[in-house]
Amino acid sequence: MSDSPSTTKLPAQSPPVDPAETEAAGHRAAPAPAGRLSWWHGDGGEGARRNLALIGVLLILFVIGAATRSDLYSNPDWVWANMLSILKLASVVGVVTVGMTFVIIGGGIDLSVGAIVALAGVWCTTVATQSFGAAGMIFTAIVVGVAVGLVNGTLIAYGRLVPFIATLAMLVAARGLAAEISQKQTQISQNNTINGIASNDLFGIPLLVYILAAVVLAGWVLLNRTTFGRRTVAVGGNPEAARLAGINVKRHTLMLYALSGLCCGIAAIMLTAQATSAQAAMANLYELDAIAAVIIGGTLLSGGRGTIIGSLLGVIIFATITNLFAINGLSTEAQNMVKGGIIVAAVLIQQVQFGSLSQFFRRNRLTTS
């Protein structure tokens, strides 16, 4: 019954009001024929070129690091270990960011990811859960993550709450529940299999990096090579057009938030393994880290366009900056200011890069007049 498209009611997201914008969004939202998926030309190409720019930023950061700490960078073993350390630092937020990318491409936002990570982490490290062993802990974290995501999705898709408000409420509620379960204590993970996820390597590469790679790969395939991914782009680009094209927009929105919750569940296990413990205050402000990485990666905050690889590069850039400031012994305050500057710079550069300068100024004149 819920499967039959409603013909009388508008979907949860109201369509864009500006006619020009509607037209543009409609173009993006049109179901993509196979030829447009080429990675360099067409739709995908824009993202690929953008990602090359981000790799350029990473190279610049590497050069800055090498120039400021040439004593450390002269040792190849140290450089390799440092790169792995950056990837490990990026791994947890990276997994969260994959889910966030889907939600944002689908036209929503999930502010509750940090709170879900904390809740899933706390829930999977209670004394009762730990008695079920590693499998029980992983199962619990993932089910808690998906369940909270489903609540978010239901509120947004069927309860017609604005995503910002629904997930903001969940942010507060999930942290509250986490504090209630943990009694505000730090819960130590006694499980060596779980803790080993963060300390063990396979062929010289940490397990955390494999998990990140697997999630990113799965996310990339899901977004670019499946109907689900194409529908996500359509729903985010223009929900009304997507609905008229026969997509069940509400159910799709529900699934996007569940996917984000799933990623949070996986991230919770990784973070618990890293810290060998969990507490209600952990994963603080991960939602902002993830959203910033998604934006740097070139995903439109209004939905309808974005890449997984771009988001991953955004997370790695942030981790590299943290690393750069740490090895130079600079303060966290300065580091945060630089990160803020990079977010603004990334968005400004993207505006200039993909239209000519004259187009950039013409558009600005249009909006101001």
């Binding site: 209670t126 619990t140 009694q183 730090t186 740490a326």
Partner: protein
């Protein structure tokens, strides 16, 4: 249709079953303060029951082991006295919320208020207001700038923590004969005054011996931030002689990062004195060799003193007829040798 509904039934049943299972998984052993963190009313002197006293209590609901221990200790100590009625109000998320909660507390007319403010400066005016209304205020740990705003101030010694940690590190390094040591520091939340005081005490004491901190990262008192900042600190310093970590709660993450990086060429000093840290020091199987105290047992003492203030009595071992105005706890150094004595004060 039957196919459809059977699938729904199975799916729904599985979902409910999982929900029940997970709900059962929220159980934790209830962590109540140990006997020793309260002072039993075992006869004689101050312990003798006096006039009935109502003590109002407010502390932030922060998700941190230390604050949780403060509230638990206060409640347990109040319960140990037959003549104390304990009224607690949640302090909410910030100074404004705590002020609102406290005004409802005043209307209940307690005899004494024990208060751990979100911020001593911001709640200074509340202290003045309560004192003028004739309700003595006991300030716990976060000082009011105005001396008229409190009857008693009991707090830990943040500067002293830094001094104790640096003193231990200097002693150890001198004993080993290290001439130019690499010393690292993992601080807590940098925007807090207490973090700055701890760092100042640490730096001042090191400087007296010609040592300095090679690299310092500020974590956020949480296990995951401790792990992340430490992993980067270890990258920055390929060889370290000593680390001071400000907080044992985030220290769980700090130790995790150290073992994940397979580093053990240095020794570490903790801060605050959690039970886990003391057990690690006693077991002597990690780099953690000492911790400097900042004990939440001060909440128990604050309740005892609030009771005496409410009854108009002094401390029976002192000559004065009233409780002193200011008490600053010493920051003690816990090592393998004395860890067993302090274990009962761990939180």
């Amino acid at each position: 249709m039957t196919q459809h509904s059977r699938r729904r039934l199975l799916f729904g049943g599985a979902a409910i079953g999982t929900g029940v299972l997970l709900a059962a998984c929220t159980s934790n052993e209830q962590q109540t303060p140990t006997e020793a963190q309260t002072k039993a009313a075992d006869g004689g002197g101050n312990a003798e029951p006096g006039k009935q006293v109502t003590v109002g209590f407010s502390a932030p609901a922060a998700d941190h082991g230390w604050i949780a221990a403060i509230t638990n200790n206060a409640r347990a100590q109040a319960a140990a006295y037959s003549d104390v009625e304990f009224k607690t109000v949640e302090a909410g998320a910030d100074a404004a919320a705590q002020r609102a909660a406290l005004s409802t507390l005043i209307s209940q007319k307690p005899d004494v208020i024990v208060l751990l403010p979100h911020d001593g400066k911001e709640l200074n005016s509340f202290g003045l207001e309560a004192m003028q209304a004739g309700i003595p205020v006991v300030n716990l740990d976060r000082a009011f700038p105005d001396a008229k705003a409190y009857r008693l101030q009991i707090k830990g010694d943040n500067y002293g923590m830094g001094v104790s940690a640096a003193t231990f590190i200097v002693e150890q390094l001198k004993a080993k004969g290290v001439s130019n040591p690499v010393i690292a520091e993992i601080a807590g939340m940098d925007e807090l005054e207490l973090t700055q005081e701890r760092t100042k005490g640490f730096n001042d004491t090191l400087a007296q011996h010609g040592f300095r901190v090679a690299n310092r990262r500020a974590a956020r008192f949480t296990v995951d931030s401790g792990q992340q900042e430490t992993s980067q600190l270890l990258q920055a310093l390929p060889k370290i002689d000593a680390i001071w970590n400000h907080d044992d709660d985030q220290g769980i993450g700090v130790l995790a990062a150290i073992s994940q990086a397979n580093r053990n060429e240095f020794f570490m000093v903790g801060g605050a004195g959690s039970k886990k840290a003391m057990e690690d020091i006693q077991a002597d199987n990690t780099v953690l060799k000492a911790t400097v105290t900042y004990s939440p047992s001060m909440a128990s003492s604050a309740i005892s003193l609030a009771r005496l203030i409410g009854q108009g009595r002094g401390m029976s071992d002192l000559v004065e007829l009233q409780v002193p105005k200011e008490i600053i706890l010493a920051s003690e150094t816990i090592t393998k040798e004395n860890a067993s004595d302090y274990l009962k004060l761990g939180f």
